[in-house]
């Protein structure tokens, strides 16, 4: 089976959870021997893991015919892809886009991030997708998140192959209900045209059904998973935590400090905990538009001395933070899935998550509270910090539980879903 996937991010250059999920999912799928995946990215850096799939860069796909030599192409983009692909794609240019800004190879450039002119970039992405969709051979199209839905629809219209869209988040999660109408319309359009909608949790599925008015029959829940820790990261964890005097405990929040993540509940709960105990510190790692507000709130509650904002964490820093934490908290107001508690549990950190997170649906060995119930949250933090038994249990059982959640199993489920979708589309 051949799959054409449209994505926006891919490790190692990631900005959020989307990249990690795309990687895991593709790799899990590729374990099936007859699976061939072509993954389209706006701007590959060349250091992506291409061992299990084929990557096509949108910024290396010509939309305007340029008479260039093999050697020139090889010199320009040879380190990222096979020049032959360039020429194959060049044979499928379908319209005159010379009015658009293109480079010497006739390609449109992409930032590969979330720039201010995001909508223009989405549009360009869809234009380029038309070329790829004409050139490639595939049985099904799989588009990740709303940025790539237009491209997916475009490919579907060209090839007539079934379209699967993967909802990693909706605008309802990002905005706590105040949706951006443009984003909503792109999302809705994608869903309306999709033959199958994969949602990362039942929570998201319900949003899709209720707020986007989709047929429940074509919405399936496809929970995310995690990859086992890499040996070098395991080494960081095994090295043991940095020694602290006076037996202080550390409670950590790690993520973007935005409205969606419910940071203020974390601060309020921390304030409650600190009213009673003094040997607990709080670490608020991450950056975001509410960072300053939170620093102010912590100061207002008079807990700034126990409350730390180390800023955005990258790569190994994340795991070092986990290693030195006793409790991980994710008080998200609305979290489509939320992969970070799984990572924390992999590192043996007991987690407290909000019931409004998608991952709460598949996790049992963690404490779940309502995001607004700061008393319950504070109580849980205090309990893990003071009761060795609870800490030990959640630590040991948490690792066991997360080890059972693998992308390989997700891959099998996705495959089943593909087969059913193709079957259904044939019948209609």
């Amino acid at each position: 089976m051949k799959v054409l996937m449209f994505g926006w991010e891919f490790p190692p250059h990631i900005l959020g959870g989307l990249g990690t999920a795309s990687y895991g999912l593709t790799k899990g799928l590729s374990l099936q021997s007859d699976m061939e995946i072509t993954f389209c990215l706006p701007k590959p850096w060349g250091d992506e893991d291409k061992s299990f799939m084929n990557i096509i860069g949108m910024n290396e796909t010509p939309v305007v015919w340029k008479d260039v030599s093999w050697d020139y192409v090889k010199e320009r983009i040879g380190h990222k892809c096979d020049p032959q692909t360039y020429f194959d794609l060049r044979d499928h240019i379908y319209a005159d886009f010379s009015y658009r800004h293109t480079d010497d190879l006739g390609c449109i450039s992409f930032s590969g991030r979330y720039p201010d002119n995001l909508h223009e970039e989405i549009n360009n992405y869809s234009i380029v997708a038309g070329v790829i969709a004409r050139q490639q051979q595939y049985d099904i199209i799989h588009a990740h998140d709303w940025l790539t839905y237009p491209a997916g629809i475009h490919a579907k219209n060209i090839s007539g192959k079934p379209l699967v869209i993967h909802v990693h988040a909706t605008d309802f999660d990002r905005s706590r209900g105040n949706v951006n109408p443009t984003v909503y319309s792109i999302e809705k359009d994608g869903m309306d045209n999709a033959d199958c909608i994969m949602c990362v949790s039942e929570l998201t599925r319900q949003t899709v059904i209720k707020h986007y008015h989709q047929d429940p029959a074509k919405c399936v829940t496809m929970h995310n998973a995690v990859y086992p820790l890499e040996p070098e990261i395991q080494e960081i964890i095994d090295k043991g935590r940095t020694k602290k005097d006076n037996n202080e405990k550390v409670v950590t929040f790690l993520g973007r400090i935005t409205m969606q993540k419910g940071p203020e509940y974390f601060v309020e709960a921390a304030a409650l905990v600190l009213q009673r105990t003094h040997n607990i510190r709080f670490c608020f790692a991450g950056s975001g538009d509410m960072l300053n507000e939170m620093i102010e709130l912590a100061a207002q509650r008079g807990i700034a001395d126990k409350f730390h904002f180390p800023g955005f964490m990258k790569g190994k820093q994340v795991y070092e933070t986990f290693r030195d934490s006793d409790v991980y908290v994710m008080p998200s107001v609305s979290e489509p899935f939320g992969i970070s508690p799984l990572e924390a549990m992999q590192c043996g950190v007991p987690s407290i998550i909000s019931k409004q997170s998608g991952c709460a649906e598949i996790l049992d060995k963690c404490i779940k509270t309502d995001y607004w119930d700061i008393h319950a949250m504070a109580d849980a933090m205090y309990s893990i910090c003071t009761n060795e038994g609870l800490y030990e249990y959640l630590k040991v059982e948490g690792i066991k539980e997360v080890d059972q959640i693998t992308w390989e199993k997700v891959g099998l489920r996705i495959r089943k879903c593909y087969d059913e979708t193709i079957e259904r589309c044939k019948r209609n």
């Binding site: 009673r276 319950a376 003071t386 009761n387 060795e388 038994g389 609870l390 249990y393």
Partner: protein, 466 residues
Amino acid sequence: MKTVCLYFEIHQNIHLKRYRFFDIGTDHYYYDDYENERSIVETAERSYEPALKTLIEMAETYGSYFKCAISLTGCAIELLESYAPQVIELLQQLNDKGCVEFLAEPYSHGFSSIKDPEGFKEEVDRLCKKIKALFGQTPKVFRNSALIYSDEIGELVAEMGFKGMLAEGARQVLGWKSPHFLYNCNRNPNLKLLLRDYSLSEDISYRFNDSSWSEYPLFADKYAQWIANLPEESQVINLFMELCALGIFQPLSSNILDFIKALPAQLKERGIEFSTPSEICSKIKSVGAIDVPYPTSWVDEERDLSPWLGNVMQQEAINKLYSVAERVRISGDRRLKQDWDYLQASNNFRFISTKPNSYGGYRGIYDSPYDAFTNYMNIVGDFVTRVNNIYGGMDNEELNSLLTTIKNQDDELAMKDKEIKKLKQMIAKIGPAEEEEKTEAKAEKKTTAKKAAPKKACATKKTTAK
């Protein structure tokens, strides 16, 4: 001749309220009064009252043929007295019919038999007194909380003078042996053991109304025939269950009471008797000792302590609670002792179980085992602080050394008491002899009296010195 021993347990725990760690040190009331009243009233209405009325009716119909045994925990008695006194009255009516034997059990329905032997004796004693006061019977047979039994517990119970004890006929203990005989404790042959036939018992308490069960629907004649079909040598068939099985586990709409009502006639037809546990202990001979190195219970498929002590959280909770057992016992503070009773109840630990499906998924006010653990530990945290406050922050070592001193002195006093008794007896013996000799030698008597007197004075001095 086969005999059936029918036994019902009445236990309701005192529900704990939502107790956050902010409450530690400020709020010393731990109970959910509303839930306590609601649950006991509901249970009484749906189960205890109709079930007891049925038993009374059966006693009237069958006269002395029908017998059963009942035990109550202290918590249940307290709840019934406050919210459903009619149940106690029904029990008294049943008692008046002379067909019921009341058994002893720990007052709190807790784990003192394993963790706190001293406290165990005290609370069993307290319950016996309560039973005596309510029903005029002094229990002679014992059952432990959740039917927990091990060799050590057996030894302890035998020391307390009970002649029999109920236990689970768990497979891991019996092996090829049958529960249909009377056994005895391997450390003390005076303690007889009645082992529950869990299969026949649970046919009534768990499966009766289960339409997916292969034997559904179960009728009294079929059930009686099963018992009649047991091998000829079988002596006792022990059917032990909670009284809530009649009405709560098996709803009244399943006609469970009609089944129970019809059972004696069917058994009588097949020549099977009813006996109370103490009748069995005195009538039937034990076929041998049974080894139970690890505790067994009547809960879950494993029939061990895993529902209460299966994970590290439960172990921590129980250890933390019993770490102050001695301090509570010698404190003499009534409120503390009352809280101590309620906090020990096994249900509190069962809520923390992480076994799948244990307790039928019922967790009361708690979301998850972690929630139950957090709540319980907050309460225990407050409780322990209160206990320790009484001792003015005295640390364990200091207290322990004092306790050892007191204990040694007690032992010493007991020795002296014995000595005094002996001497008194000697005097008494010498006394009459003296009278005979009175006429013969007056001087001799004076010397013996003098000899005894100083010793006695010495002993009393020591008593006051303490």
